[in-house]
Symmetry: C2
Subunit: 247 residues, 2 copies
C-alpha cells in the first residue's frame, strides 16, 4: 500500500473541498489487492467451476480491505467519507450493472457525506460473477445521479497515441469527442500495467459511453502522481490530461 | 478483539456445515467497535446536529473494520463468506428497515456462499440516521428470505427472570410464546452490558416480531461461550437456551 500517496490524495480532496464545496462520490480501483485473486480465479470471465466461488469471496475481501484503508485516510484528514460496497447491492449482466438501488448514495450526497465506491466483484445474471470496474460503477452512477464531471486519476497524464514509456515521439491526445473517438480508440494499445478490468482502452470506452448517454458530462483523465493535480482539477483549474466530451 | 473466540466460532460453523449443509446468513453485532462512536454521537437518536454526520461515518468505519475480521476468520477456516454492508443498501424509518433490495443476498445463498451482515449505522428517512441492530437486520431478512431458524449467539444461555449475575435464585426461561410473551417481557430488566441497540429486552422484542410475522420460524438464544454450543445448535441438536416461537 502506498500510504503516503493515499494520504496525500485524501489531503488534496480535503483542501479542494474547502475552496469548492462540490458534492463528490469517490471511487478507487483495487490495484494489486483484488486483482491478484481476480486473475487467479479468472473472475472477470464468470463462474467457470466450483473454485470460482472461492474467487468471488477472496476478491470481495481484498477489495473491501483496500477500501477500509482509503476510507481511513479520508477520515484522518477530516472528510466524512463512508463506504458503499458495490458487490453488496449491484446486479450486473455481462459485467454491466443493470440494477443498483442508489437511495443510500443519494441520501449521503444530500448530507454532503462522501460515498466511497470501489472496484469489486459483482453478481452477474449472465455469467454468475464479474469484475465491477470503477469506471463501470461511475457509468452507472452517472446515469442515476446529477453528475457534472467524471475525473479519472491515473498514473499517466491522459492518453497517448503510442506508449510514451517506449516511444519518445508519442503524442498526448488532449481531447476525445465523438468526432475523433473511433480513430483514437484504434490507436490505443493495451496499457502496460494491464489489469482484469481491461486497461486504458476499456476505461476510455466506458468514458465515451458516459458522454454519449449524458452529453453534458465532462470526463477527464489526469496524472494524480503530480502533487496538487487532483486538488487543482477538483477546483476546476487547468490540469494537463485528456478530456472526453460528447462534442 | 477476541480473535480466539471468533476463530473458534468460525471453526464450529465450518464443522456444522460439513454435517448439515444448511444455507446460512451470518450476522454479527459490533461490540465495542461501533458502539463507542455510536454512543459518543448518540447515533441511535438520529441526526441531532452537524456533528452527527461525523458520527455516521465513524460508526460505519468501525462496524466494517470488525466485519473484515469476522469475514477473514470465516475465510481462514475454509468457508466462502462474503460481506454484505447493511448501511450501503438498507433504508429505515425509526430504526426499522423499510427497504432493502435482497437480490444479492438471494444470489449468494443460491451459490451456497455465506452472506455476512452486521450491526451498522443506517440511513433513516425519519430521524436521518439510526443504528441497525443485527436483530433488526435478521427481522428484515426473515421477512424476505425462506428462513426456518434464527439463532442468536449470546454470552448468556438464554433469558432469566432476574439478572443471574446478581440474584442466585434467578430462573432461566426455556421458552417464550405468544402466551407468556407479555409476562416475560415485563420481567426482563435492562441487560447489564447495555448497548445502543437496547440490550436483551429489545432483542427478545424483535424475535417476537419475527415469529408473529412468520409463525413457522423458530428463534433461539444460546450461550456461544460454551464450546460447541453453536455447532450443536446449527446441527439441530439440543442446546440449553431460550426459544422464541409463535405458539
Amino acid at each position: 500500500v502506498r500510504s503516503d500517496t493515499i494520504s496525500r490524495l485524501a489531503a488534496e480532496i480535503h483542501d479542494a473541498r474547502r475552496h469548492a464545496r462540490t458534492r463528490l462520490v469517490l471511487g478507487h480501483g483495487g490495484g494489486s489487492f483484488p486483482h491478484t485473486p481476480a486473475r487467479e480465479y479468472s473472475i472477470q470471465r464468470g463462474i467457470l467451476s466450483t473454485d470460482s466461488y472461492r474467487g468471488i469471496v477472496l476478491v470481495q475481501d481484498a477489495a473491501a480491505k483496500l477500501n477500509r484503508i482509503v476510507v481511513s485516510a479520508m477520515l484522518d484528514v477530516g472528510e466524512n467519507a463512508m463506504s458503499v460496497q458495490p458487490s453488496g447491492a449491484a446486479i450486473s449482466e455481462n459485467s454491466k450493472i443493470v440494477h443498483w438501488d442508489l437511495s443510500v448514495i443519494k441520501k449521503l450526497l444530500e448530507y454532503d457525506l462522501i460515498p466511497v465506491v470501489y472496484g469489486d466483484v459483482g453478481i452477474d445474471l449472465r455469467q454468475g460473477c464479474c469484475i465491477l470496474s470503477t469506471e463501470e460503477i461511475f457509468r452507472y452512477l452517472a446515469m442515476g445521479l446529477p453528475v457534472e464531471r467524471v475525473l479519472i486519476g491515473s498514473n499517466v497524464d491522459g492518453l497517448y497515441d503510442k506508449d510514451p514509456s517506449v516511444f519518445s515521439d508519442a503524442k498526448q491526445i488532449p481531447s476525445i469527442t465523438a468526432e475523433n473517438a473511433s480513430r483514437v480508440c484504434s490507436l490505443i494499445g493495451k496499457s502496460p500495467g494491464i489489469d482484469v478490468t481491461g486497461g486504458m482502452r476499456s476505461k476510455i470506452g466506458t468514458l465515451l459511453d458516459i458522454v454519449r448517454l449524458k452529453n453534458e458530462i465532462r470526463c477527464e483523465v489526469i496524472d494524480i502522481r503530480e502533487p496538487n493535480a487532483l486538488k487543482r482539477a477538483l477546483c476546476s483549474q487547468e490540469v494537463k490530461g485528456t478530456t472526453v466530451r460528447a462534442g
